[in-house]
């Protein structure tokens, strides 16, 4: 039998032990970061590495224009020390929510520091798909590193070093993309996909980009658009068109059938990752892997080597 005060002593010992474990776990706690897209999450992971616990709201194959919140997303947003999002209306309805959260938390649009003259304008809006131009993504990387350093100043040097290393990788990647695209004869450098996500890619690497749908995946397209596309394909001798991971392939497939019915050669050159990255093990689950996959698919397709 224990005397009551002995029991109390043990209890308080247990409590203090519990408190200590909790205390140390907070001391070691990483910065909690929530990113909207997988691409931004990947960027933050490269710069923050083990100093941050990074969560993405939009999973594999999720189209940001059509994103629907799940139960778990509430906690991802409320627990985050920093929230990174793309901006330029990529996240649509989330934008006003981010404006509200910004009253209490650090909420950063990674596209914020890109000068307006480098953005593609559509009427009053800007094309949000900045990650297709690797040099623009470098600007996003700088913004992320700067925001992390401000929030967590004791690791500022660490973030700066990681940023420099990652910027170097992106510079190499950018040069590689340019050399790959240079292998395609100039008149064949036409990229036809389901929606206009690849504007920056075309602008940066010298391809003409045509899409079936408008800038937002929610819009529809007319018969006139399809006819125009068909004419271009036939007259320029284009070998391949492409489907996207986050957009239904049925429009592109019907375009291919239409051209084939006229006795011309056209294939689906492969699947490009546009608004979301690939699944684990697809080799496209990182930004670097995603760009490499897209560029190789485009090169092979346009050179007529799609199914080798």
């Amino acid at each position: 039998m224990h005397k009551p005060n002995q029991l109390l002593k043990r209890l308080s010992l247990l409590l203090s032990a519990l408190y200590l474990t909790l205390g140390t776990s907070t001391a070691l706690a990483q910065l909690k970061v929530t990113a909207t897209t997988g691409m931004i999450a990947d960027l933050v992971e490269n710069i923050a590495q083990d100093k941050a616990d990074v969560q993405a709201l939009m999973g594999v194959g999720v189209d940001p224009h059509l994103y629907k919140a799940t139960q778990g997303d509430i906690r991802k947003l409320s627990r985050a020390d920093i929230i990174f999002y793309n901006g330029l209306h990529l996240e649509g309805k989330l934008q006003p929510i981010f404006d509200k959260i910004a009253r209490k938390k650090t909420v950063i649009a990674v596209s914020e520091s890109i000068p307006e003259n480098r953005l593609i304008a559509y009427d009053k809006l800007h094309d949000p798909h900045i990650w297709f131009d690797v040099s623009l993504w470098q600007e996003a990387a700088k913004k992320v590193a700067q925001s992390l350093a401000q929030k967590d100043s004791k690791n500022a040097v660490f973030y700066q070093n990681n940023l420099q290393a990652y910027l170097q990788k992106l510079t190499d990647l950018n040069a590689w993309v340019k050399s790959e695209m240079a292998k395609v004869p100039e008149q064949n450098r036409v990229l036809i996909t389901a929606h206009d996500a690849f504007g920056y890619f075309g602008k940066a690497y010298g391809l003409e980009v045509m899409g079936l749908q408008g800038i937002s995946t929610a819009g529809e397209f007319g018969l006139q658009d399809i006819k125009q596309l068909k004419d271009t394909i036939v007259s320029r001798g284009i070998q391949a068109v492409f489907v996207e991971s986050s957009v239904s392939p049925k429009f592109i497939e019907s375009l291919v059938k239409g051209v084939q019915a006229e006795g011309k050669k056209l294939v689906v050159g492969g699947e490009l990752y546009s608004d979301a990255m690939g699944a684990q093990g697809s080799n496209a689950e990182t930004y670097l892997g995603m760009v490499k996959h897209n560029v190789e698919t485009i090169r092979k397709g346009l050179l007529g080597q799609a199914h080798e």
């Binding site: 909790l22 776990s25 907070t26 629907k68 919140a69 799940t70 139960q71 778990g72 997303d73 509430i74 906690r75 947003l77 409320s78 627990r79 649509g92 309805k93 989330l94 006003p96 929510i97 509200k100 959260i101 009253r103 009427d123 009053k124 809006l125």
Partner: protein, 307 residues
């Protein structure tokens, strides 16, 4: 660590409180819609609000929430009024009249959007429909932005006001609403104005649906207007019990749905709507089983008597 848990707990409370109030308000007005065979009025208003939003924007030049809400409530009333008038004048069924009116108003809205507003994002999905998951983040700060106190989500306060208006209106007008709904000819002879109570009810419907759209989005509102009231209709013996049962069903749907969304990590609105549907099916099944049992019991009695 503990501060995070506290915040989590608060998030759940705000979402559940908002959803519960939306569900209770929708269930109460839903009862009258079901009884008057106008169950799809909520769906109709969810479409025709587009015209209200566009007109409000064109007239005022602003897309602030209050202007949008006013436009939406007004067009909701017009939808209800036109449907009822068409039903009376043309002798078309009320569902057909509702269908004609809301598609017409919605299409006018679509044309106005393409004519006048061009590229600005002006549709109900963007400016009016909310997402229940984000309710806790859109809070009102009382006083100064920096030093003021956070008094909780805007959507919660808005729907609380609407809930109180609905509750008080139905409590005070209960006898008259009952007479008008079940015995229109008696109401006439008693000198109760049928048009007045009709528009009174439609004002409640329009206000409730629009405030609920703002809090939780369209599909959940349409579901909560119809399903709890329909489940209650299966069991209830009086208007009063139907109202109580509808509110009970709506609250069960919210709680079961929230747990479901937690378990599956899915959309909260969709989970609540699914739970409402499941509760309805369970109710139907239990009633069928009981019916069969009663029949068997009756037959057994008959057999023993014959023997």
């Amino acid at each position: 660590m503990s501060s995070f848990d506290l915040a989590d707990w608060l998030l759940d409370i705000w979402i559940l409180a908002t959803a519960s109030l939306v569900a209770a308000s929708c269930a109460m007005v839903g009862v009258f819609l079901i009884l008057r065979r106008q169950a799809l009025m909520g769906d109709a208003i969810s479409h025709s609000v587009l015209l209200g939003i566009v007109l409000a924007y064109l007239i005022s030049g602003s897309n602030s929430l209050w202007v949008m809400l006013l436009g939406a409530v007004t067009i909701g009333l017009i939808t209800a009024w036109l449907s009822e008038s068409l039903h009376k004048v043309s002798r078309l069924q009320s569902d057909a009249s509702i269908g004609i009116v809301f598609t017409l108003l919605f299409s006018i809205g679509v044309i106005l959007v393409s004519l006048y507003t061009g590229q600005i994002d002006l549709d109900q999905e963007c400016v009016l429909y909310g997402e229940i998951a984000f309710v806790p983040f859109d809070t009102i700060i009382w006083g100064d932005m920096e030093t003021g106190t956070d008094i909780g989500p805007r959507a919660f306060w808005l729907i609380l006001i609407v809930f109180l208006i609905v509750l008080i209106s139905i409590t005070l007008g209960f006898e008259r609403l009952k007479t008008v709904t079940f015995h229109p000819s008696l109401a006439l002879s008693l000198g109760i104005s049928i048009p007045f109570w009709h528009y009174f009810l439609m004002t409640l419907v329009s206000m409730t649906t629009v405030a609920s759209f703002d809090a939780v989005g369209a599909i959940l509102v349409v579901a909560l207007l119809i399903i709890p009231a329909a489940s209650a209709y299966l069991l209830a013996k009086s208007l009063k019990s139907m109202l109580w049962l509808a509110v009970l069903y709506s609250q069960l749907s919210v709680w079961i749905g929230y747990a479901l969304s937690y378990w599956l990590n899915s959309s909260i609105a969709a989970s609540i709507a699914v739970s409402a549907g499941l509760l309805m099916i369970v109710t139907l099944l239990i009633m069928q089983i009981r019916k069969v049992q009663q029949k068997r019991h009756y037959l057994q009695q008959l057999n023993t008597e014959q023997a």
